[in-house]
Point group: C2
Chain length 341, copies 2
C-alpha cells in the first residue's frame, strides 16, 4: 500500500490524482490518496476510472496543505497536512511508503519527525539515479541536508553502497567522493577529512571524482553534501530542458528540418525517454524507518505514476528498508571490512 | 598581443599551435606562442601557414611544462614553465593577456603569483558565461577557490556585476546567490551571511537562486563558491556531451532516422553551436592586474582559436581590467550605493 500526497506539487491535486489512477491500473496495487476528501472525490469522478481501478484507490482525508513556498517547519504546526498524514500512514504501517511531489523540505521534516530516522543514521539523504550511457549513477545527498559533517557524508556513502547493490544489482559499486580535483589532497577541508575516513571503510572507494563523473560512469555512487548535490541536480534538469527546447526550436525553423524531424521522431522520442527525469519517478529519502519518495514539484501525471511505480518496486524488494537495516547493523567504525559484503 | 601557452592542454602542443595559427588569420592580431622552441617551430612548419600569418606568431621559449595532473604548486618550482612564462609576459606588459588550456590550478597560481591580484580583491574568480535561451548567465566562481569566505563571495558578486555590464551590456544585471531554496533564510550559514551583505551593496540583488537558474535566465550573474561552481560547470559539460551522444546514437539507429538526420543536419549544427562550450572560448580569471583566460583542457584547435579571439575582445574592450579597476575603486562597504552605477 502506497500513500500518495494528492495535495503536493505545482499541479496538485489534478496531476497527483490522475497519476495515482494511472498507477492503479496495475493489478494488485492499492493506493491511499491523501488530501481534502471532497476535492479528491470530485477529481476522481472527473477522470471516471473503471470500478476495478476505483476500488484500488482509497481517499484518506487531510484538511491542511503545506504550500510549495511555505517553510518546511509548517509541518510541525499543520498536524493535519496531507504530507504529515501520509507520513503517519507509513509510521502506523497502513502504507509501506509515501510519495509526494510537494514541498521537499516538508517531506523531509515529516519523514524525520513522523516516520523516524533509522538507528545508525544521523540524517536521511535524498538519492537520485542519474542517467549515463549504460546504467545509472546514484547521486546523494541530492538536497536533504546542508553543512553536512564528515561522519554524515560517510553514512551517505554507506547508504549509497547498499542502494547501488540493491537497485543497480552490483556487488561492489564504486563510490566516488565529489571534489574539485581527482587527487587525494584536492578539495575542501571537509572533503579531505571524508576522503580519509572512506579510505578506511572497506567500501570500493575510488577516491575523488568531479562533477562530470555524475554522468561519466567513473563511479556508481557520487557522494556529496546536499547543497552541492541539489545544485548539480537542479542545474542538470534545467540544462536538459534548455537543450531540448533549443533542439525543438532549431528543428522547426525550416521546412527541411521539420521534415527531418518527422522522419526521426521515433528516435527523438526514445532519446527523450532516456534523458527525461520524469520517466524515473521519485527519489527515495534513505535512512528512514519507512518509505518516503520525493517526486519533482512539476511532476506530470505520468511522472507521478512513474514515482508511485518506483515506490512499489522499492517496497516489493524492501530496498530502502534493507539500506536502513544494513546501516544500523554494521558498526563500520569497529569492523571496517564488514561493510563491503 | 596575446601569450598562448602552447604546452598546456590534453592535446598540446598540436591543438594550441593549430588554434593559434587559426586565430592569427585575423589581420592585426599578434601572438606569442610559449613553449619549447624546437617543438613549436616544427609544429608550425607542419601546418605551413602563409607568410602573413606566420609573421604574426612569435615563438617564446619556455623549457618546462606543468603537467595536467601535477600539483598547481609546481608553478613555484618550475620558473621556466610555459604557464609561468606566459604570466611573466603579461606582468612585463609584452602581452595584454595569456590563454592556457593547461592545468587550471597552475594558471591560477601563476596568475596570482606573477600577474598579481588587483587591489581590493582577496581572490580572483573564474567567470564562465553559461548559455540560456536569450543571452548568457555568468557563473562565478566556477572553480578558482574553495571554502570561500562571505567577503570573498561578495567580491565575486561585485566582479560579476561589472563583468555583466561590460560583457552582456546590461546596466543593472540581476545578481543571484546560489542556494538550495529561494527564500532568504534558506541555505548554509555562509549563504545566509552573504545574503545579508549583498542585500546592502546596492547591486541589483535578486536574492537566492537555485541550480536551475544557471540556465533559466532568472539572474544574469550567479554567485557561488568555486567548489559548487566547478561541480555545476563540470556536470553540465558532461551532461551536454551525454545528451549529444545519446541523440547521435538514436538518430543513427534506423534508416528512417538517419534520413531525418541528414535533412535536419543544418538545424543540428546550429543547435550544437548554441550549446557547445568550445564555441565560447576560455573563461576569464577576474581580479588580476592583467588578462588570464583558462580554456578547457580538452580544447580542440577550434576551441583554442575561440579562446584566443575571446581574449582579444576582452583586451580591446579592456573588460577584465575595468572589472579589476572598478573593484579597487569602489569602497562598497563605505558607500554601498556607489557600486550600482
Amino acid at each position: 500500500m502506497i500513500a500518495v500526497d494528492a495535495m503536493g506539487g505545482d499541479h496538485a491535486p489534478r496531476t497527483a490524482v490522475e497519476g495515482a489512477l494511472l498507477a492503479a491500473r496495475r493489478r494488485g496495487l492499492r493506493l491511499l490518496l491523501v488530501g481534502r476528501r471532497s476535492i479528491l472525490e470530485e477529481e476522481i469522478e472527473e477522470f471516471g476510472p473503471g470500478p476495478a481501478v476505483r476500488d484500488r484507490v482509497e481517499v484518506v482525508h487531510a484538511g491542511e496543505v503545506v504550500g510549495m513556498c511555505e517553510s518546511a517547519l509548517a509541518v510541525r504546526r499543520k498536524r493535519d497536512s496531507s504530507v504529515r498524514v501520509c507520513a503517519r500512514l507509513v509510521k502506523e504501517g497502513r502504507a509501506q511508503a509515501m510519495v509526494t511531489a510537494g514541498n521537499t523540505g516538508a517531506a523531509l521534516v515529516a519523514g524525520k519527525m513522523v516516520i523516524g530516522v533509522a538507528p545508525g543514521v544521523d540524517r536521511p539523504a535524498l538519492a537520485v539515479a542519474m542517467p549515463r550511457r549504460v546504467g545509472r549513477t546514484i547521486l546523494l545527498d541530492a538536497g536533504a541536508n546542508v553543512d553536512s559533517k564528515p561522519d554524515q557524508l560517510r553514512q551517505f556513502a554507506v547508504m549509497g553502497h547498499y542502494l547501488a547493490q540493491q537497485l543497480l544489482r552490483m556487488n561492489s559499486p564504486r563510490i566516488g567522493l565529489l571534489s574539485i580535483g581527482e587527487e587525494a589532497g584536492k578539495g575542501t577541508d571537509l572533503v579531505r577529512e571524508v576522503f580519509k575516513s572512506l579510505d578506511a571503510t572497506g567500501l570500493n572507494f575510488v577516491g575523488n571524482v568531479e562533477g562530470r563523473d555524475v554522468f561519466s560512469g567513473a563511479a556508481d555512487v557520487v557522494v556529496c553534501d546536499g547543497f552541492v548535490g541539489n545544485a548539480i541536480l537542479k542545474s542538470a534538469e534545467a540544462l536538459a530542458e534548455f537543450v531540448g527546447a533549443q533542439l525543438r526550436e532549431e528543428m522547426s525553423s525550416t521546412l527541411r528540418s521539420r521534415l527531418g524531424y518527422l522522419l526521426a521522431k521515433p528516435a527523438f522520442d526514445r532519446f527523450r525517454s532516456r534523458v527525461d527525469y520524469s520517466e524515473y519517478g521519485g527519489a527515495p529519502l534513505l535512512g528512514l524507518r519507512g518509505g518516503c519518495f520525493v517526486a519533482h514539484g512539476r511532476s506530470s501525471a505520468h511522472a507521478m505514476s512513474s514515482a508511485i511505480q518506483r515506490a512499489v518496486e522499492f517496497c516489493e524488494a524492501g530496498i530502502h528498508l534493507k539500506v536502513s537495516a544494513k546501516l544500523s547493523e554494521v558498526a563500520f567504525e569497529a569492523a571496517p571490512k564488514a561493510v563491503a559484503g
